[in-house]
Symmetry: C2
Subunit: 484 residues, 2 copies
Amino acid sequence: MNQQYRITSALFTDFYELTMAQGYWKQNMNHKVVFDMFFRRNPFNGGFSIFAGIETLLDVITEFRFSDEDIDYLRSQKIFEEGFLDYLRDFKFSGDLWSFEEGSVIFPQEPLVRIHANLIEAQILEGLVLNHINFQSLIATKTARVWLASKKGSIMEFGLRRAQGPDGAMSATRAAYIGGAAGTSNTLAGKIYGIPVMGTMAHSWIMSFPSELEAFEAYAKIYPEKTVFLIDTYDTLKSGIKNAIKAGAKLVEQGYNFGVRLDSGDISYLTQQVRKELDKAGFPQAFISVSNELTEEIIETLVQQNAPIASWGVGTHMVTGGNEASFTGVYKLAARHDAVKNEMVPAMKFSDNPAKTTNPGIKNVWRLYDENSMARADILGLENETIEPEKEYRFYHTMIDYRQFTFKAASVKPMLSLRLKDGQRTKERLDDSVQLKKSREVMMKEIETLDPSYKRILNPHIYKVSITEKLKDLKLEFIKANIR
Amino acid sequence: MNQQYRITSALFTDFYELTMAQGYWKQNMNHKVVFDMFFRRNPFNGGFSIFAGIETLLDVITEFRFSDEDIDYLRSQKIFEEGFLDYLRDFKFSGDLWSFEEGSVIFPQEPLVRIHANLIEAQILEGLVLNHINFQSLIATKTARVWLASKKGSIMEFGLRRAQGPDGAMSATRAAYIGGAAGTSNTLAGKIYGIPVMGTMAHSWIMSFPSELEAFEAYAKIYPEKTVFLIDTYDTLKSGIKNAIKAGAKLVEQGYNFGVRLDSGDISYLTQQVRKELDKAGFPQAFISVSNELTEEIIETLVQQNAPIASWGVGTHMVTGGNEASFTGVYKLAARHDAVKNEMVPAMKFSDNPAKTTNPGIKNVWRLYDENSMARADILGLENETIEPEKEYRFYHTMIDYRQFTFKAASVKPMLSLRLKDGQRTKERLDDSVQLKKSREVMMKEIETLDPSYKRILNPHIYKVSITEKLKDLKLEFIKANIR
């Protein structure tokens, strides 16, 4: 694990988790609970999301501790008792964690991570779970949209300089790779995660030479196998492409190929003109790469216009989410141990915002496929339920109980699996780069099971996430009891 | 320095910096250059921005190195020569760095950081400079807007769970404090940066008890001095406020005060109703705090409606920028050493996008104040120029040369100061928390010199950033020479 920069201090949590924790500790209320991490809506007005960050989260959960220095800091706040600080000194997560597989296609309302632990441990984990899953899922989702808009083209992630801080770049690069990016400019992420690194020249390279042509020729001489000329430093059509063709001709003579990159101007018009120039000069194999504030919407439009673009450098919008910079993940109590009944009982949160009302109980998620192996609906049900293939069930809308449907699935996939048992991994930890490739493959495989209508960039079809009859009944029971 | 999590690997840079660096090294082109870091427009359609991240950047620049492992990784890419890898092994920044003071009010086009170094060092620094300054300036600017919208109220930063990764939370918390936040929920940031930490209870606390009242009473008993009841778990008006008043009454009897927090529903309506209930119960001193997807626009509206709110919990939008998640900072060559002339000569980047054309030469920035000590314009000029108070000058628009004005300043402040000389700090490094308080004071002082019209949330007046006649002439000279 090369990630020396990772935060492992358990202080990386909201302060109220610690004040509540001491409250539970003093009340002797450290009973078993189940918390769900789920999200409320797909970002970017999209039809799906991609689950990412779980493997990073598992590393952090198994490593995080309160150091002596951390304890001293808490003591200095003058509201924590020594007994409680002693408890924190030995603190580590000793519960169970269930989750979706990294790279999975996910939908709102589904418990993506389900934590079974004592109350204090579950509570202190909240910030970590949300911080890692929310950010990486946001970026994996954004990148999947960019990648689909490019018709699964070659997406280079170039976002380091506009990312939200150093880890904002590192985690974004990781998530972007899961979401379909082919490579990154972030060299450290290349080293740690084994992601292909790429990049050739900046405007400053060209400005450091007496002329554009000399700059191009110098680069081509050093990196004949990897030359992409940046052609918009002075004037793309009057100067850049002409010099690129001169310098490129020498590369071709030597048996190499070359590319050109545009980073400003009207991409649609300029790429058509540049393509013509390259073809006219006899270099139909020379490729065009573009960058400059690209989004999935711009890429989709350019692809529809048949812009002759071989690869896309995407930065700012992809690594920050652009106009939507956060994922709506939340972490809510789903069940708690009842001392009188001596069993786990469901819990439910009500809210003046109906969308903030939760689904009670310990829940599983099943994905139902039709005979063509296409995903048709996801079902939330209670822990002790099963959904079998070839059997017809009636399912219900999560919020509007008169919306229901019946479905007989050709196959059924349970989406949650046990990742931590008593705080320990259930399977051996994979090397970072092996894990990351695996997560990316999950995304690529799962996205194929989704009808194109759900993958539209604009106005996608809404995928069904429904609940079983038992869960619906439990929910209605809670609602009845709450209205007094 | 407690920041064990900080990335100090010099691999945290865009790969093309390294391929270009080897190119310069092979060409023996490691001449002196000057790079400017500046930004292109104020985020959030605002009238100003706040400069943050420079102190973090100085730490990283003085610490970052290529480790043996980093060198091995580069070797594995099979395009770097051993001689160049040897050069990187001893690599550290040995140049000069000028910058604005952290916390300063800043405007587009101004060189915020000016780096004088050899070409390779200056180039490898690009990603670091942009990553740190862009993100922290974005968040400090956003927070200053939130703080101004609240009429300099009490802003609690609660963003950890929705921030862009772990450092996305840490750096955002730091920058939010510079921008005017009063405290944070992020306990680790509290420890490292000495920012006040705050927070009381979550919905899960309330749901962990048999009843809302019991949950409130238990908390009040443990933290009588710091109780803020969260009143929207079940029903704010029917249940939450009533139980808060019951539990709060006991606190008041014991000589304490209490507060209530709302996290959902119609804040304007609910806070008015809750205020009435509290007053009716005889607790005019009990305060109301609100949270739930707050932005500067929502806060401004609530303040205009005289919503009785004492403090604001702001998370997602403040720590990510919300609908604008990146700062438009760029890093461009401004001058280079010319071997023939044996002197520094100005450099200028042209572009098919006129806004991407740079201001050439080694530049200073002066802020001009009127007789009331209000900032009236910022001027970019060349290194060897001076601007004196009580003297009239003619200044020019940075892009439209027929827009000009004359001004006689009552006082003049040069905005750039030397922070690193030959790679070493010019002043002793302050403790993190001391530095941060200082940066926050700079913001608070500078924001007072800005006319309210520039600080409007919606449709602010545009502050003048102009250039001296000499810089204008230099720019026009370049443009003439470029049009052939």
